[in-house]
């Protein structure tokens, strides 16, 4: 009963337009029926490769995009059960609009992958970070500047950084500015969309340390999206693996990495290069290319590339079932 964000059958499709008048030719099913439950205070990891829909999922969950189906239950106090029914209708944010939607923004924020493009190059850092305060009419002017300095201290910046433009900073510092901007309204839920991918390896660790500290200090709940499995393994409490718009496996981080059940997860993990020349990992090399989300295969979406595919896999889509405690898989093998 301590979930903050629960999605039920979440769907997000993108139309493919073509022809003279831009008629709809087809759909890209970026997120196709995703069920997630994120507990208050945890770091929930979402992994997958390009095209799997993890970024779309992250953006839809905080209502940056409008979902095409399903429900998103959000309770900043973290009191949702894992299967909210109709009683919890007032927490469903899937169809919010206007003022209510704007009010939501104080509680849910996002940090983007590339701070060079997510910070307005023509705005001073102080204005960038103070903007949420002004937009939500929390405070302005000198008081806002004070709050900015406070959050700066939390993220490791100082007052001398206030009156500068983003391009004058290094990648790691820019990302800290983005984090400051996201956290200045004290949100409860933050989506981190590959926040360390654009940053140098040596700086990565300090950013991860920062995320951990801030979570502890401010009581944050994270949705951590990444394709870098080594980072996810260390930072996240629970991890979900996505493939072509669907979640194929969810488990506690340690359990998942020690004991991956889904063939895709197994192949994914085996593909990570290990920084140790002595161990020779047995690679599972998948055949073929990741398929296009516009024309997904029938049945289990992974079956054309699966080394363990059976006849059943081509016709029936497997559902997520709990094999061990807390470990869910969507595969006919189980």
């Amino acid at each position: 009963m301590d979930n903050m964000l629960v999605t039920v059958n979440l769907k997000k499709y993108f139309p493919i337009r073509g022809g003279l008048l831009g008629a709809k030719k087809g759909e890209v099913k970026a997120v196709d029926g995703v069920n997630m439950a994120i507990r208050k205070g945890e770091t929930f990891g979402l992994v997958g490769e390009s095209g799997c829909g993890k970024t779309t999922c992250g953006k839809t969950v905080i209502r940056l995009l409008k979902p095409d189906g399903g429900q998103i239950f959000f309770d900043p106090k973290g009191g949702l059960p894992e299967n909210p029914g109709d009683n919890y209708g007032q927490f469903d944010i899937a169809r919010l609009r206007g003022k209510q939607l704007k009010g939501l923004r104080r509680h849910m924020q996002i940090v983007y992958q590339n701070p060079s493009t997510s910070l307005n190059p023509r705005m001073l850092v102080k204005d960038l970070v103070a903007e949420p305060l002004i937009v939500h009419k929390i405070c302005k002017g000198a008081e806002a500047e004070k709050r900015v300095l406070e959050i700066f201290e939390d993220v490791g910046l100082s007052s001398e950084h206030l009156h500068r433009y983003p391009h004058e900073f290094s990648g790691g510092q820019k990302q800290r500015i983005a984090v400051a901007r996201a956290l200045i309204t004290n949100p409860e839920f933050v989506v981190l969309d590959e926040p360390t991918s654009s940053v140098d390896v040596s700086v990565r660790a300090s950013l991860l340390q920062l995320f951990k500290e801030l979570q502890r200090k401010m009581g944050l709940t994270y949705l951590f999206i990444s394709h870098d499995l080594s980072v996810v393994q260390v930072l996240c409490d629970r991890v979900a693996v996505m493939y072509l718009g669907k979640i194929v496996e969810v488990a506690e981080s340690k359990e998942l990495f020690n004991n991956p059940l889904h063939p895709y997860t197994q192949a994914l993990f085996s593909a990570i290069p290990i920084p140790d020349p002595e161990t020779k990992r047995k690679r599972i090399i998948l055949k073929g290319e990741p398929p296009s989300p516009a024309k997904p295969p029938l049945g289990c979406k992974f079956h054309p590339r699966c080394p363990k595919a059976m006849e059943l896999c081509a016709t029936n889509e497997p559902m997520l079932i709990e094999t061990r405690r807390g470990h869910w898989v969507a595969c006919h093998l189980y």
């Binding site: 905080i62 940056l64 704007k102 923004r105 104080r106 924020q109 996002i110 983007y112 590339n114 493009t117 997510s118 910070l119 307005n120 190059p121 023509r122 705005m123 001073l124 903007e131 949420p132 937009v135 939500h136 009156h163 500068r164 433009y165 004058e168 983005a178 901007r181």
Partner: protein, 311 residues
């Protein structure tokens, strides 16, 4: 390519905005043509501002009407009495040129400013909301772009009478579509960037996003276009005045002045350049004005070129 070592550069200091300005000035320094453009523009600005001092207006008379010193149609050459001579009807050419600079700025700035504002409003709405709104607005823009400026100006003159106001209206109507298109293109490009989505994620209203995030990033191409356009607008207005559609006879407007020299271009028998001062002098000033603004616009375009911007 030889490296140009920049000595004694403009220093920025603490304020970031001043540092930006210093960067711009440093870049302009490097190109002699840009400096020439700036000097020319400053020269004309000076003349325009100090027109009443440089050429005293006559009492009880509209300062924009050139003073006449006689009624003889034959223009008098430059001499000690009249610095640039007189043109047909004994209008003082020097006075006309000086006050003509003011007229040029009035038309140029007015047309460009109003077109820019209209273009920004229409272009940003079209580019931001896309879809049907974009289609409709852009088709309207296309239709207006197809209008020939000259014919439209003539239609306005017939409807509202001759004068600079008529042609100003006509020019504004014909000029704003190019700004709308430019702004729309830039807005489309910028709204695809992450920071616009980030602003949405913070909860900014559409209006705030457009004004605080999108438009400031589209300013540079606009400034370049505007400075190049001032020259074009003045040239077009001069052509219209020359044809008799614009300024009334005797008005201090370069195109009008050239119009007065129409009968004297061929000169006197035996001396084809007898009355050169009636058309060469205003022509040269017009040419320099447009050239100066073009060079400035080019210089600004070089400065704001994104490749160089990103250093």
């Amino acid at each position: 390519m030889k490296m140009v070592k920049v000595k004694g550069r403009f220093r920025g200091g603490e304020s970031p905005r001043i540092r930006e300005l210093a960067f711009i000035l440093n870049r302009i320094r490097r190109s002699p043509l840009s400096i020439a453009g700036i000097i020319i523009v400053l020269f004309f600005t000076f003349i325009a501002i100090f027109a009443p001092v440089l050429a005293h207006p006559q009492p009880n008379r509209d300062p924009y009407m050139m003073p006449r010193y006689g009624f003889s149609p034959i223009p008098r050459p430059p001499g000690p009495d009249f610095l640039f001579g007189t043109t047909e009807g004994q209008y003082d050419l020097y006075y006309g040129i000086i006050w003509g600079a003011r007229t040029a700025y009035r038309i140029g700035v007015l047309v460009v400013a109003v077109s820019m504002i209209m273009g920004i409003v229409i272009g940003s709405i079209a580019g931001y909301y896309k879809g049907v709104i974009d289609e409709v607005l852009m088709r309207i823009t296309d239709i207006i772009l197809a209008f020939p400026a000259l014919i439209l100006a003539m239609a306005f003159v017939v409807a509202f009478g001759r004068g600079l106001d008529s042609i100003t209206f006509a020019l504004i109507l014909v000029w704003w579509p190019s700004y709308a298109r430019l702004v729309r293109g830039e807005v489309l490009k910028i709204t695809a960037e992450d920071f616009v989505e980030a602003a949405k994620a913070i909860g900014c209203s559409d209006f705030r996003i457009m004004v605080r995030h999108v438009l400031p990033n589209t300013i540079f191409p606009l400034i370049v276009m505007a400075s190049l356009d001032i020259g074009s607008v003045v040239l077009t207005a001069a052509a219209l005045s020359f044809l008799g559609l614009g300024a009334p006879t005797g008005y201090a407007d370069w195109g009008q002045i050239i119009s007065l020299s129409r009968n004297w271009i061929t000169g006197a028998p035996g001396n084809p350049f007898a009355y050169w001062h009636t058309y060469i002098i205003p022509g040269v000033f017009l040419f320099l004005f447009v050239m100066g603004w073009n060079l400035l616009g080019d210089a600004l375009r070089d400065v704001f070129d994104p490749m160089i911007r990103r250093r």
